[in-house]
Symmetry: C2
Subunit: 347 residues, 2 copies
């Protein structure tokens, strides 16, 4: 690029590209997703394990909900250190292990998949790099087709992961995945409206925030907190709505703004109890969700209504914009957060 860069200009481009990336996933990726789903179905796993780090870990958590609810299979998240640092060699027959990683390079994930494969698991990698070590290590690979991410914080690669994982699970469940067809247009409209500028101004001087959601929207709450931490250096903490009531609620007062992700389904309904308790303690709560769920919250970001299992794709978009605006307002460059590397090599 020529000339001085504006703060966050790369992240802005990544965010804006998401509808385009989703169209690619729903078009060009269908064949590989369908093939992977067929292979998984043939193996009929009894248990699904996920292994991931950072933003990809929230995508994996989203997929864990899909596996538990749509496929009705028990599932878990692997703590990679048990295999890489402690030498555990569990019997993984009948287990499908799915690694989710943008770069496909972190040694702990590569080693986890290699060990799992040796010990009986059927292995699948979901990455943004088909020539990565992780893609090579797993029996199956699905490319999320997000293209190069310009900024360091993951935005388009996150939602591409969500969409690929949704389409994969839908096909394993014998559905055609067409429920997602409307998403790119809805995302375009939502991104264009860009409803967060005022909100960014409001949170500009906050040093802490809390994000919360339940069910499918809990991964959104976690990714929202991570995005705010990475870009604006805000001490953002995510809690499942239920866990929030088991302790952390104590630290919430009028000085800790809350972002509550409230979808239109069972997860959103389970948040009513949480919203009521937040109101009791005088919390400043912004509700992110469809018109029907956001209700009469004083502060809210309305997103288009879609089936609940797809809502995480739309919910995160205004939060990405908020993180970008906030970082710029605070004078830091979200394209290059201090202290981070795009490819994080943890052992």
């Amino acid at each position: 690029m020529t000339g001085p860069r504006r703060l966050g200009e790369r992240m802005a481009v990544d965010i804006a590209e998401q509808p385009h990336v989703w169209r690619q996933v729903l078009g060009d990726a269908v064949e590989q997703i369908t093939a992977a789903a067929r292979r998984v179905t043939e193996r009929s796993p009894r248990f699904v394990l996920f292994v991931a780090r950072g933003t990809s870990d929230q995508a994996a958590l989203y997929a864990k909900y899909l596996v538990e609810i749509v496929l009705q299979l028990p599932a878990g998240m692997v703590s990679p250190s048990t295999m890489t640092a402690y030498g555990a060699r569990p019997d993984l027959h009948d287990v499908l292990m799915i690694a989710v990683s943008q770069s496909g390079s972190s040694p702990d994930l590569v080693q986890s998949i290699q060990l799992a494969r040796t010990h009986g698991a059927f292995t699948l990698a979901v990455t943004n790099n088909p020539s990565s070590e992780l893609a090579a290590a797993a029996e199956l690979h699905v490319d999320i087709l997000a293209g190069e991410e310009r900024a360091m914080p993951a935005t388009k690669s996150y939602t591409a992961q969500l969409l690929v994982l949704h389409q994969l699970v839908a096909r394993i469940a014998g559905r055609d995945g067409s429920a997602a067809a409307a998403l790119p247009d809805l995302a375009e409209q939502l991104l264009r409206e860009n409803r967060v500028a005022e909100l960014a101004d409001r949170y500009r001087f906050a040093s802490r925030m809390v994000t919360t959601g339940r069910g499918y929207s809990y991964p959104t709450a976690r990714e929202a907190a991570l995005k705010l931490m990475e870009t604006s250096y805000i001490g953002a903490q995510a809690f499942s709505g239920a866990d929030l009531l088991h302790g952390p609620l104590a630290m919430i007062d009028r000085l800790v703004p809350v972002l509550a992700i409230v979808s239109d389904g069972a997860g959103g309904a389970a948040m009513r109890q949480v919203l009521a308790r937040l109101a009791d303690v005088g919390a400043d709560t912004c509700v992110i969700g469809p018109e029907s769920a956001a209700g009469d919250a004083a502060t809210r970001i309305v997103i288009p209504g879609v089936p609940e299992e797809l809502s995480p794709l739309l919910e995160i978009l205004p939060v990405q914009q908020l993180a970008l605006h906030l970082a710029v307002a605070r004078g830091v460059d979200p394209d290059r957060p201090r202290g981070l590397q795009k490819v994080t090599r943890t052992l």
Copy 2:
């Protein structure tokens, strides 16, 4: 009680009682733990799922590491909402589901165990109340024998859960669990030394903190953050050392103190990379761990060296004391955190 209460006097008594409670677990609870271990062994589960909330969720996470490493079985944490809110009815044959709860009363846990049992899981409840609904719902129950907790934040019930779960897994693995015999005396000595007063003074004006650990010590980092949130209302955030490097490191600067739990084994060794990166960004890091692991950290709390899988029992003790001291220094009563209920009934 007569006369005005001192802030935190109940929590102080709970904390001090831990060596006594542990002696009871290692004595009076042996029979029920051995019987439960025998029943589990007979069923030879292939997967283990945990369901828990709040502090008990960290105890469950500790047990997940034990199951993965010592029993070499794949394991996961259930998101209760998948069964209670979304109606998932997974096939749970060959699955051992363990519910961990202090009160045994939260409806979402009771319902999860009931549903799991109906759908083929072998179910075990670990609670502090043998007449609770949860104890009745599960096929097996182990009482942690912690006695009534006087303060609202869980302290003695947490370490009693850890010890019961350790002893249970040891016996399922065919060990006698005697490695834990030295713990009560070591805890007594550590609690008497009470090395945290100075540290509490140092953190008195902090509004945020970060806690971190890997492997067996990661649950300690999470429980440390929860205790600081509940008692002192500090915005404390816990990260596995590996996840910290995948994003959240960006928000750490000289104004965000870090508590790093560094054990004497593989988890502690994996923290070296994390400590180096924290030093790079100028973080103020206090290392909690045995002499050999704490090394030459400027600020540290030395705890007695024990086998790594038992270290979480000792690591949390000075943090409980720190949370208590900090709350009192800040003029809030840790016995009764604002906005909380001892028994949290989430659906």
